[in-house]
Protein backbone atom coordinates (compact mmCIF):
# COMPACT_ATOMS: atom_id res chain seq x y z
CA UNK A 1 0.00 0.00 0.00
CA UNK A 2 1.63 3.24 -1.11
CA UNK A 3 1.43 5.65 1.81
CA UNK A 4 1.55 8.88 -0.10
CA UNK A 5 -1.23 7.64 -2.38
CA UNK A 6 -3.22 6.54 0.65
CA UNK A 7 -2.88 9.95 2.28
CA UNK A 8 -3.88 11.89 -0.82
CA UNK A 9 -6.70 9.42 -1.37
CA UNK A 10 -7.95 10.19 2.16
CA UNK A 11 -7.73 13.95 1.55
CA UNK A 12 -9.56 13.54 -1.77
CA UNK A 13 -12.26 11.43 -0.12
CA UNK A 14 -12.74 14.09 2.57
CA UNK A 15 -13.08 16.85 -0.01
CA UNK A 16 -15.54 14.74 -2.02
CA UNK A 17 -17.55 13.98 1.13
CA UNK A 18 -17.68 17.66 2.03
CA UNK A 19 -18.81 18.55 -1.50
CA UNK A 20 -21.50 15.84 -1.59
CA UNK A 21 -22.83 16.83 1.83
CA UNK A 22 -22.80 20.54 1.02
CA UNK A 23 -24.67 19.96 -2.26
CA UNK A 24 -27.03 17.46 -0.61
CA UNK A 25 -27.73 19.86 2.25
CA UNK A 26 -28.48 22.62 -0.26
CA UNK A 27 -30.96 20.58 -2.29
CA UNK A 28 -32.51 18.56 0.53
CA UNK A 29 -32.75 21.31 3.13
CA UNK A 30 -36.55 21.05 3.47
CA UNK A 31 -36.58 17.28 3.96
CA UNK A 32 -34.18 17.64 6.91
CA UNK A 33 -36.73 19.65 8.87
CA UNK A 34 -40.17 18.53 7.66
CA UNK A 35 -42.19 15.46 8.55
CA UNK A 36 -43.20 13.11 5.74
CA UNK A 37 -46.94 13.29 6.36
CA UNK A 38 -47.72 10.99 3.42
CA UNK A 39 -45.89 7.86 4.62
CA UNK A 40 -45.12 8.41 8.28
CA UNK A 41 -47.61 6.83 10.68
CA UNK A 42 -45.95 7.43 14.03
CA UNK A 43 -43.10 4.92 13.70
CA UNK A 44 -39.73 5.55 12.03
CA UNK A 45 -39.72 4.36 8.39
CA UNK A 46 -37.00 1.78 7.61
CA UNK A 47 -34.26 2.39 5.01
CA UNK A 48 -35.04 1.24 1.47
CA UNK A 49 -32.35 -1.49 1.56
CA UNK A 50 -34.14 -3.08 4.53
CA UNK A 51 -37.74 -2.74 3.35
CA UNK A 52 -38.20 -1.30 -0.12
CA UNK A 53 -42.03 -1.35 0.12
CA UNK A 54 -42.51 0.65 3.31
CA UNK A 55 -39.53 3.02 3.16
CA UNK A 56 -41.62 5.71 1.44
CA UNK A 57 -38.74 6.68 -0.83
CA UNK A 58 -36.44 7.54 2.08
CA UNK A 59 -33.13 5.93 1.16
CA UNK A 60 -31.89 5.76 4.78
CA UNK A 61 -35.32 5.78 6.40
CA UNK A 62 -36.71 8.42 8.73
CA UNK A 63 -36.01 9.33 12.32
CA UNK A 64 -38.47 9.12 15.23
CA UNK A 65 -40.19 12.32 14.04
CA UNK A 66 -40.61 11.22 10.42
CA UNK A 67 -37.78 13.35 9.01
CA UNK A 68 -35.51 12.01 6.28
CA UNK A 69 -32.29 10.61 7.79
CA UNK A 70 -30.24 11.12 4.62
CA UNK A 71 -31.18 14.80 4.38
CA UNK A 72 -30.39 15.32 8.06
CA UNK A 73 -27.11 13.48 7.59
CA UNK A 74 -26.16 15.80 4.72
CA UNK A 75 -27.01 18.87 6.78
CA UNK A 76 -25.29 17.61 9.96
CA UNK A 77 -22.12 16.50 8.18
CA UNK A 78 -21.86 19.69 6.15
CA UNK A 79 -22.20 21.69 9.39
CA UNK A 80 -19.59 19.59 11.21
CA UNK A 81 -17.08 19.81 8.36
CA UNK A 82 -17.72 23.53 7.93
CA UNK A 83 -17.15 24.09 11.63
CA UNK A 84 -14.01 21.93 11.62
CA UNK A 85 -12.64 23.79 8.58
CA UNK A 86 -13.27 27.19 10.25
CA UNK A 87 -11.60 26.06 13.45
CA UNK A 88 -8.64 24.51 11.68
CA UNK A 89 -8.16 27.78 9.78
CA UNK A 90 -8.23 29.70 13.06
CA UNK A 91 -5.84 27.24 14.75
CA UNK A 92 -3.50 27.50 11.75
CA UNK A 93 -3.57 31.29 11.80
CA UNK A 94 -2.76 31.56 15.52
CA UNK A 95 -0.50 28.50 15.60
CA UNK A 96 1.66 29.52 12.64
CA UNK A 97 2.14 32.99 14.10
CA UNK A 98 2.98 31.61 17.54
CA UNK A 99 5.20 28.88 16.11
CA UNK A 100 7.23 31.32 14.05
CA UNK A 101 7.45 33.71 17.02
CA UNK A 102 8.54 30.85 19.28
CA UNK A 103 11.35 29.85 16.93
CA UNK A 104 13.42 32.69 18.34
CA UNK A 105 13.91 33.99 21.85
CA UNK A 106 10.17 34.16 22.49
CA UNK A 107 10.15 30.35 22.78
CA UNK A 108 10.47 30.42 26.58
CA UNK A 109 7.31 32.59 26.77
CA UNK A 110 5.21 30.88 24.15
CA UNK A 111 5.77 27.30 25.38
CA UNK A 112 4.12 27.75 28.85
CA UNK A 113 1.18 29.64 27.31
CA UNK A 114 0.69 26.89 24.72
CA UNK A 115 0.94 24.18 27.37
CA UNK A 116 -1.60 26.07 29.50
CA UNK A 117 -4.08 25.96 26.60
CA UNK A 118 -3.64 22.29 25.72
CA UNK A 119 -3.96 21.21 29.35
CA UNK A 120 -7.75 21.27 28.90
CA UNK A 121 -9.70 18.30 27.56
CA UNK A 122 -11.28 19.90 24.49
CA UNK A 123 -14.96 18.98 24.84
CA UNK A 124 -14.95 19.84 28.54
CA UNK A 125 -13.59 23.35 28.05
CA UNK A 126 -15.88 23.74 25.01
CA UNK A 127 -18.94 23.03 27.18
CA UNK A 128 -17.79 25.63 29.72
CA UNK A 129 -17.12 28.08 26.90
CA UNK A 130 -20.59 27.54 25.39
CA UNK A 131 -22.33 27.92 28.75
CA UNK A 132 -20.31 31.03 29.52
CA UNK A 133 -20.95 32.82 26.27
CA UNK A 134 -24.37 31.81 25.03
CA UNK A 135 -26.38 29.76 27.46
CA UNK A 136 -28.29 26.91 25.80
CA UNK A 137 -30.80 28.78 23.71
CA UNK A 138 -29.12 30.51 20.81
CA UNK A 139 -28.35 28.51 17.67
CA UNK A 140 -26.48 31.10 15.64
CA UNK A 141 -24.38 32.48 18.46
CA UNK A 142 -23.46 29.06 19.77
CA UNK A 143 -22.32 28.02 16.26
CA UNK A 144 -20.25 31.20 16.15
CA UNK A 145 -18.84 30.47 19.60
CA UNK A 146 -17.89 26.95 18.63
CA UNK A 147 -16.53 28.14 15.29
CA UNK A 148 -13.90 30.18 17.10
CA UNK A 149 -13.76 28.28 20.39
CA UNK A 150 -12.06 25.06 19.34
CA UNK A 151 -9.51 26.90 17.23
CA UNK A 152 -8.52 28.99 20.26
CA UNK A 153 -7.58 25.84 22.15
CA UNK A 154 -6.00 23.89 19.28
CA UNK A 155 -3.41 26.40 18.07
CA UNK A 156 -0.62 24.93 20.27
CA UNK A 157 -0.68 21.75 18.17
CA UNK A 158 0.09 23.81 15.05
CA UNK A 159 2.74 25.82 16.91
CA UNK A 160 4.30 22.54 18.10
CA UNK A 161 4.32 21.25 14.52
CA UNK A 162 6.09 24.41 13.32
CA UNK A 163 8.69 24.05 16.08
CA UNK A 164 9.29 20.42 15.20
CA UNK A 165 9.41 21.24 11.47
CA UNK A 166 6.53 18.89 10.70
CA UNK A 167 4.24 19.39 7.76
CA UNK A 168 1.52 21.98 8.41
CA UNK A 169 -0.91 19.87 6.35
CA UNK A 170 -0.47 16.97 8.77
CA UNK A 171 -0.89 19.33 11.71
CA UNK A 172 -4.13 20.65 10.20
CA UNK A 173 -5.61 17.15 10.02
CA UNK A 174 -4.24 16.39 13.48
CA UNK A 175 -6.19 19.39 14.76
CA UNK A 176 -9.33 18.43 12.84
CA UNK A 177 -9.78 15.07 14.62
CA UNK A 178 -10.23 16.38 18.21
CA UNK A 179 -12.36 19.25 16.90
CA UNK A 180 -14.74 16.92 15.07
CA UNK A 181 -15.02 14.60 18.07
CA UNK A 182 -15.39 17.41 20.60
CA UNK A 183 -18.06 19.07 18.49
CA UNK A 184 -20.00 15.82 18.26
CA UNK A 185 -19.75 15.32 22.05
CA UNK A 186 -20.86 18.88 22.78
CA UNK A 187 -23.90 18.39 20.55
CA UNK A 188 -24.50 14.93 21.96
CA UNK A 189 -24.72 16.44 25.45
CA UNK A 190 -27.24 19.04 24.27
CA UNK A 191 -24.95 22.08 24.14
CA UNK A 192 -23.74 23.76 20.98
CA UNK A 193 -26.01 23.87 17.96
CA UNK A 194 -29.62 23.35 19.02
CA UNK A 195 -32.43 21.33 17.40
CA UNK A 196 -34.16 21.30 14.99
CA UNK A 197 -30.86 22.01 13.20
CA UNK A 198 -29.39 18.52 12.69
CA UNK A 199 -25.84 17.73 13.78
CA UNK A 200 -24.12 14.36 13.96
CA UNK A 201 -24.13 14.60 17.77
CA UNK A 202 -27.80 15.44 18.27
CA UNK A 203 -28.88 12.85 15.68
CA UNK A 204 -27.14 10.23 17.81
CA UNK A 205 -28.66 11.35 21.07
CA UNK A 206 -32.17 11.42 19.62
CA UNK A 207 -31.71 8.07 17.95
CA UNK A 208 -30.42 6.57 21.18
CA UNK A 209 -33.87 6.62 22.78
CA UNK A 210 -35.32 4.64 19.81
CA UNK A 211 -32.42 2.30 19.18
CA UNK A 212 -34.53 -0.85 19.49
CA UNK A 213 -37.07 0.20 16.86
CA UNK A 214 -34.83 2.29 14.60
CA UNK A 215 -31.15 1.31 15.00
CA UNK A 216 -30.25 2.93 11.65
CA UNK A 217 -30.78 6.39 13.16
CA UNK A 218 -27.77 5.70 15.42
CA UNK A 219 -25.70 3.44 13.19
CA UNK A 220 -25.61 5.66 10.09
CA UNK A 221 -24.31 8.88 11.75
CA UNK A 222 -21.86 6.82 13.83
CA UNK A 223 -20.49 5.15 10.71
CA UNK A 224 -20.15 8.47 8.94
CA UNK A 225 -18.40 10.16 11.87
CA UNK A 226 -16.07 7.16 12.18
CA UNK A 227 -15.29 7.42 8.46
CA UNK A 228 -14.53 11.15 8.68
CA UNK A 229 -12.26 10.72 11.72
CA UNK A 230 -10.56 7.75 10.06
CA UNK A 231 -9.90 9.71 6.87
CA UNK A 232 -8.53 12.67 8.86
CA UNK A 233 -6.21 10.34 10.76
CA UNK A 234 -5.00 8.72 7.54
CA UNK A 235 -4.38 12.17 6.08
CA UNK A 236 -2.40 13.18 9.18
CA UNK A 237 0.12 10.36 9.35
CA UNK A 238 3.40 10.65 7.54
CA UNK A 239 3.96 6.92 7.73
CA UNK A 240 1.97 4.12 9.26
CA UNK A 241 4.91 2.04 10.36
CA UNK A 242 7.73 4.48 10.88
CA UNK A 243 8.03 6.99 13.66
CA UNK A 244 6.20 10.15 12.62
CA UNK A 245 8.61 12.41 14.42
CA UNK A 246 11.96 11.07 15.57
CA UNK A 247 12.23 13.19 18.71
CA UNK A 248 12.82 16.92 18.70
CA UNK A 249 15.59 18.41 16.67
CA UNK A 250 15.32 21.63 18.66
CA UNK A 251 16.32 22.33 22.21
CA UNK A 252 13.42 22.30 24.63
CA UNK A 253 12.48 25.48 26.58
CA UNK A 254 14.44 24.09 29.52
CA UNK A 255 17.55 23.85 27.34
CA UNK A 256 17.10 27.24 25.79
CA UNK A 257 16.80 28.91 29.17
CA UNK A 258 19.81 27.05 30.47
CA UNK A 259 21.82 27.93 27.40
Amino acid sequence: MHLNRLRWGAIGALVALFAICAIGARFQSDAAFTIDNVHWAGNPLPPCFIDAHSCGGHLLGTDENGRDVLARLFAGTALALELAATNVAMALAIGLFAGVAASGRARRWVAPIANGFIAFPLWIIAVLFVIATTGRDSTASSWFTLAIGYGCFMWPLVAGAVLRKRSVLEAAFDVAVPILLADAVVNFLGYGVQPPQPTLGNMLVHGESNIEVAPWVVIVPTALLTLIVFLCRLAAIPSLNQTPDQGTEHPSPAHSVTN
Binding site: N115, A119, I124, A132, V218, T226, F230
Partner: protein, 250 residues
Amino acid sequence: MWAALRRSRVAILFVSAVAEALVATAIVASSLTLLELTYHRRTIDWWFIPYFIWHVAIGRWGHSLSNTEPVLTAIVERLLPSIELFTFTLALVAIATFAISAIRNRRISNGVAVLICAASSVPFFVSPFAADYVAATRHLHSPLADLVLPGFVSAIALFWDFNRSYRAEAKRTPLGAFVRSTARELPRFIAVLGIVELFFPRPGVGRLFHQGLGQQDYPLIAGAVLFAALLSVAARFAAGVLTGDALEPS
Protein backbone atom coordinates in the same frame (compact mmCIF):
# COMPACT_ATOMS: atom_id res chain seq x y z
CA MET B 1 21.61 32.01 43.92
CA TRP B 2 19.83 33.24 40.82
CA ALA B 3 22.55 31.75 38.62
CA ALA B 4 22.24 28.44 40.48
CA LEU B 5 18.48 28.49 39.96
CA ARG B 6 18.95 29.18 36.26
CA ARG B 7 21.22 26.16 36.02
CA SER B 8 18.81 23.91 37.86
CA ARG B 9 16.57 22.21 35.33
CA VAL B 10 13.98 21.29 37.96
CA ALA B 11 13.62 24.93 39.00
CA ILE B 12 13.12 25.96 35.37
CA LEU B 13 10.55 23.23 34.85
CA PHE B 14 8.80 24.30 38.04
CA VAL B 15 8.63 27.94 36.96
CA SER B 16 7.31 26.79 33.59
CA ALA B 17 4.66 24.61 35.28
CA VAL B 18 3.57 27.52 37.51
CA ALA B 19 3.22 29.70 34.41
CA GLU B 20 1.16 26.98 32.68
CA ALA B 21 -1.07 26.66 35.76
CA LEU B 22 -1.55 30.44 35.82
CA VAL B 23 -2.56 30.45 32.15
CA ALA B 24 -5.02 27.58 32.71
CA THR B 25 -6.54 29.24 35.79
CA ALA B 26 -6.82 32.55 33.95
CA ILE B 27 -8.70 30.79 31.11
CA VAL B 28 -11.26 29.35 33.55
CA ALA B 29 -11.54 32.71 35.34
CA SER B 30 -12.15 34.41 31.97
CA SER B 31 -14.92 31.91 31.21
CA LEU B 32 -16.57 32.71 34.55
CA THR B 33 -16.26 36.44 33.82
CA LEU B 34 -17.95 35.86 30.47
CA LEU B 35 -20.64 33.82 32.23
CA GLU B 36 -21.35 36.73 34.55
CA LEU B 37 -21.52 39.04 31.55
CA THR B 38 -23.89 36.69 29.68
CA TYR B 39 -26.36 36.12 32.47
CA HIS B 40 -26.29 39.36 34.44
CA ARG B 41 -25.43 41.83 31.68
CA ARG B 42 -22.90 43.76 33.71
CA THR B 43 -19.58 45.12 32.58
CA ILE B 44 -16.55 42.84 32.60
CA ASP B 45 -14.90 42.74 36.00
CA TRP B 46 -11.23 42.25 35.10
CA TRP B 47 -10.21 42.19 38.76
CA PHE B 48 -12.07 38.91 39.10
CA ILE B 49 -9.27 37.08 37.24
CA PRO B 50 -6.43 37.77 39.74
CA TYR B 51 -8.97 37.38 42.57
CA PHE B 52 -9.93 33.91 41.25
CA ILE B 53 -6.30 32.87 40.73
CA TRP B 54 -5.46 33.89 44.30
CA HIS B 55 -8.39 31.93 45.74
CA VAL B 56 -7.49 28.86 43.69
CA ALA B 57 -3.89 29.12 44.92
CA ILE B 58 -4.93 29.17 48.58
CA GLY B 59 -7.37 26.29 48.11
CA ARG B 60 -10.66 28.21 48.20
CA TRP B 61 -12.43 26.79 45.18
CA GLY B 62 -15.88 27.91 46.27
CA HIS B 63 -18.93 25.86 47.20
CA SER B 64 -21.18 23.70 45.06
CA LEU B 65 -24.52 25.40 44.43
CA SER B 66 -26.45 22.12 44.60
CA ASN B 67 -25.32 20.81 48.00
CA THR B 68 -23.15 23.65 49.43
CA GLU B 69 -20.22 21.26 49.75
CA PRO B 70 -16.75 22.75 49.06
CA VAL B 71 -15.93 22.09 45.39
CA LEU B 72 -12.44 20.78 46.07
CA THR B 73 -13.75 18.34 48.71
CA ALA B 74 -16.45 17.10 46.33
CA ILE B 75 -13.86 16.47 43.60
CA VAL B 76 -11.35 14.75 45.89
CA GLU B 77 -14.08 12.49 47.32
CA ARG B 78 -14.96 11.29 43.81
CA LEU B 79 -11.38 10.82 42.69
CA LEU B 80 -10.85 7.16 43.59
CA PRO B 81 -13.24 5.55 41.03
CA SER B 82 -11.79 7.77 38.33
CA ILE B 83 -8.22 6.83 39.27
CA GLU B 84 -9.18 3.13 39.19
CA LEU B 85 -10.61 3.44 35.69
CA PHE B 86 -7.68 5.56 34.51
CA THR B 87 -5.13 3.06 35.81
CA PHE B 88 -6.88 0.11 34.21
CA THR B 89 -7.24 1.92 30.88
CA LEU B 90 -3.62 3.08 30.95
CA ALA B 91 -2.46 -0.48 31.67
CA LEU B 92 -4.41 -1.79 28.66
CA VAL B 93 -3.12 0.95 26.39
CA ALA B 94 0.45 0.42 27.61
CA ILE B 95 0.31 -3.35 27.02
CA ALA B 96 -1.02 -2.80 23.49
CA THR B 97 1.57 -0.11 22.78
CA PHE B 98 4.51 -2.18 24.00
CA ALA B 99 3.24 -5.17 22.01
CA ILE B 100 2.91 -3.13 18.81
CA SER B 101 6.30 -1.56 19.48
CA ALA B 102 7.87 -5.01 19.75
CA ILE B 103 6.18 -6.20 16.56
CA ARG B 104 7.08 -2.98 14.75
CA ASN B 105 10.70 -4.01 14.67
CA ARG B 106 9.59 -6.70 12.25
CA ARG B 107 7.39 -4.13 10.44
CA ILE B 108 3.72 -4.93 10.79
CA SER B 109 1.81 -4.56 7.58
CA ASN B 110 0.22 -1.25 6.78
CA GLY B 111 -3.12 -3.03 6.50
CA VAL B 112 -3.01 -3.96 10.21
CA ALA B 113 -2.11 -0.37 11.10
CA VAL B 114 -5.05 0.89 9.03
CA LEU B 115 -7.38 -1.53 10.83
CA ILE B 116 -6.14 -0.31 14.23
CA CYS B 117 -6.63 3.28 13.08
CA ALA B 118 -10.20 2.47 11.99
CA ALA B 119 -11.02 0.83 15.35
CA SER B 120 -9.70 3.86 17.22
CA SER B 121 -11.76 6.18 15.04
CA VAL B 122 -15.12 5.03 16.39
CA PRO B 123 -16.39 8.08 18.35
CA PHE B 124 -15.49 7.65 22.00
CA PHE B 125 -18.97 8.63 23.16
CA VAL B 126 -20.73 6.00 21.04
CA SER B 127 -18.76 2.90 22.00
CA PRO B 128 -19.42 3.27 25.79
CA PHE B 129 -23.10 3.70 25.00
CA ALA B 130 -23.03 0.50 22.92
CA ALA B 131 -21.08 -1.38 25.61
CA ASP B 132 -23.48 -0.17 28.29
CA TYR B 133 -26.44 -1.24 26.13
CA VAL B 134 -24.97 -4.73 25.70
CA ALA B 135 -24.17 -4.94 29.43
CA ALA B 136 -27.70 -3.91 30.37
CA THR B 137 -29.46 -6.27 27.95
CA ARG B 138 -27.28 -9.23 28.95
CA HIS B 139 -27.30 -8.37 32.67
CA LEU B 140 -23.54 -7.94 32.73
CA HIS B 141 -23.46 -4.99 35.13
CA SER B 142 -21.34 -5.82 38.18
CA PRO B 143 -18.48 -3.99 39.95
CA LEU B 144 -15.92 -5.91 37.89
CA ALA B 145 -17.75 -5.54 34.57
CA ASP B 146 -18.20 -1.83 35.24
CA LEU B 147 -14.42 -1.50 35.42
CA VAL B 148 -13.43 -3.90 32.65
CA LEU B 149 -15.96 -2.88 29.98
CA PRO B 150 -15.40 0.89 30.16
CA GLY B 151 -11.66 0.26 30.46
CA PHE B 152 -11.59 -1.71 27.20
CA VAL B 153 -13.83 0.79 25.43
CA SER B 154 -11.65 3.72 26.54
CA ALA B 155 -8.44 1.89 25.66
CA ILE B 156 -9.64 1.27 22.10
CA ALA B 157 -10.54 4.95 21.70
CA LEU B 158 -7.21 6.16 23.13
CA PHE B 159 -4.79 3.66 21.67
CA TRP B 160 -4.07 5.33 18.32
CA ASP B 161 -3.15 8.73 19.75
CA PHE B 162 -1.17 7.22 22.62
CA ASN B 163 0.76 5.03 20.22
CA ARG B 164 1.60 8.03 18.06
CA SER B 165 2.82 9.98 21.10
CA TYR B 166 4.88 6.99 22.17
CA ARG B 167 6.47 6.66 18.74
CA ALA B 168 7.27 10.37 18.73
CA GLU B 169 9.54 9.66 21.72
CA ALA B 170 11.26 6.75 19.99
CA LYS B 171 14.76 8.00 20.84
CA ARG B 172 14.13 7.60 24.57
CA THR B 173 14.05 4.50 26.73
CA PRO B 174 10.69 2.64 26.70
CA LEU B 175 9.92 3.80 30.26
CA GLY B 176 10.82 7.42 29.50
CA ALA B 177 8.72 7.36 26.33
CA PHE B 178 5.82 5.83 28.27
CA VAL B 179 5.97 8.49 31.01
CA ARG B 180 6.12 11.34 28.52
CA SER B 181 3.34 10.03 26.31
CA THR B 182 1.12 9.44 29.37
CA ALA B 183 1.63 13.06 30.46
CA ARG B 184 1.03 14.31 26.93
CA GLU B 185 -2.12 12.28 26.43
CA LEU B 186 -3.62 12.94 29.87
CA PRO B 187 -6.14 15.55 28.63
CA ARG B 188 -7.40 13.00 26.06
CA PHE B 189 -7.67 10.36 28.77
CA ILE B 190 -9.70 12.74 30.93
CA ALA B 191 -11.93 13.63 27.98
CA VAL B 192 -12.69 9.99 27.17
CA LEU B 193 -13.08 8.82 30.77
CA GLY B 194 -15.31 11.82 31.51
CA ILE B 195 -17.78 10.59 28.88
CA VAL B 196 -17.44 6.92 29.80
CA GLU B 197 -18.46 7.69 33.38
CA LEU B 198 -21.68 9.16 32.03
CA PHE B 199 -22.79 5.72 30.79
CA PHE B 200 -21.37 3.36 33.37
CA PRO B 201 -22.38 3.49 37.04
CA ARG B 202 -19.01 4.75 38.27
CA PRO B 203 -19.27 7.61 40.78
CA GLY B 204 -16.14 9.41 39.57
CA VAL B 205 -15.27 13.02 38.82
CA GLY B 206 -16.69 12.70 35.29
CA ARG B 207 -20.11 11.83 36.68
CA LEU B 208 -19.80 14.73 39.14
CA PHE B 209 -19.13 17.05 36.20
CA HIS B 210 -22.25 15.80 34.40
CA GLN B 211 -24.30 16.30 37.58
CA GLY B 212 -22.97 19.85 37.73
CA LEU B 213 -24.02 20.39 34.10
CA GLY B 214 -27.51 19.06 34.78
CA GLN B 215 -28.00 21.31 37.82
CA GLN B 216 -26.26 24.36 36.29
CA ASP B 217 -23.84 24.24 39.20
CA TYR B 218 -21.25 26.64 37.75
CA PRO B 219 -18.70 26.57 40.62
CA LEU B 220 -18.64 22.78 40.38
CA ILE B 221 -18.31 22.81 36.58
CA ALA B 222 -15.51 25.39 36.69
CA GLY B 223 -13.81 23.50 39.53
CA ALA B 224 -13.87 20.20 37.65
CA VAL B 225 -12.53 21.82 34.46
CA LEU B 226 -9.76 23.55 36.37
CA PHE B 227 -8.89 20.40 38.28
CA ALA B 228 -8.49 18.48 34.99
CA ALA B 229 -6.24 21.21 33.58
CA LEU B 230 -4.07 21.46 36.70
CA LEU B 231 -3.73 17.69 36.76
CA SER B 232 -2.41 17.79 33.20
CA VAL B 233 0.03 20.58 34.07
CA ALA B 234 1.26 18.60 37.09
CA ALA B 235 1.67 15.47 34.94
CA ARG B 236 3.71 17.38 32.35
CA PHE B 237 5.90 18.81 35.12
CA ALA B 238 6.41 15.35 36.67
CA ALA B 239 7.24 13.83 33.27
CA GLY B 240 9.67 16.67 32.60
CA VAL B 241 11.43 16.11 35.92
CA LEU B 242 11.55 12.33 35.54
CA THR B 243 12.87 12.37 31.99
CA GLY B 244 15.03 15.48 32.35
CA ASP B 245 13.46 17.42 29.50
CA ALA B 246 10.37 19.63 29.20
CA LEU B 247 7.43 18.47 27.10
CA GLU B 248 6.85 20.57 24.04
CA PRO B 249 3.31 21.56 23.03
CA SER B 250 2.02 18.84 20.71
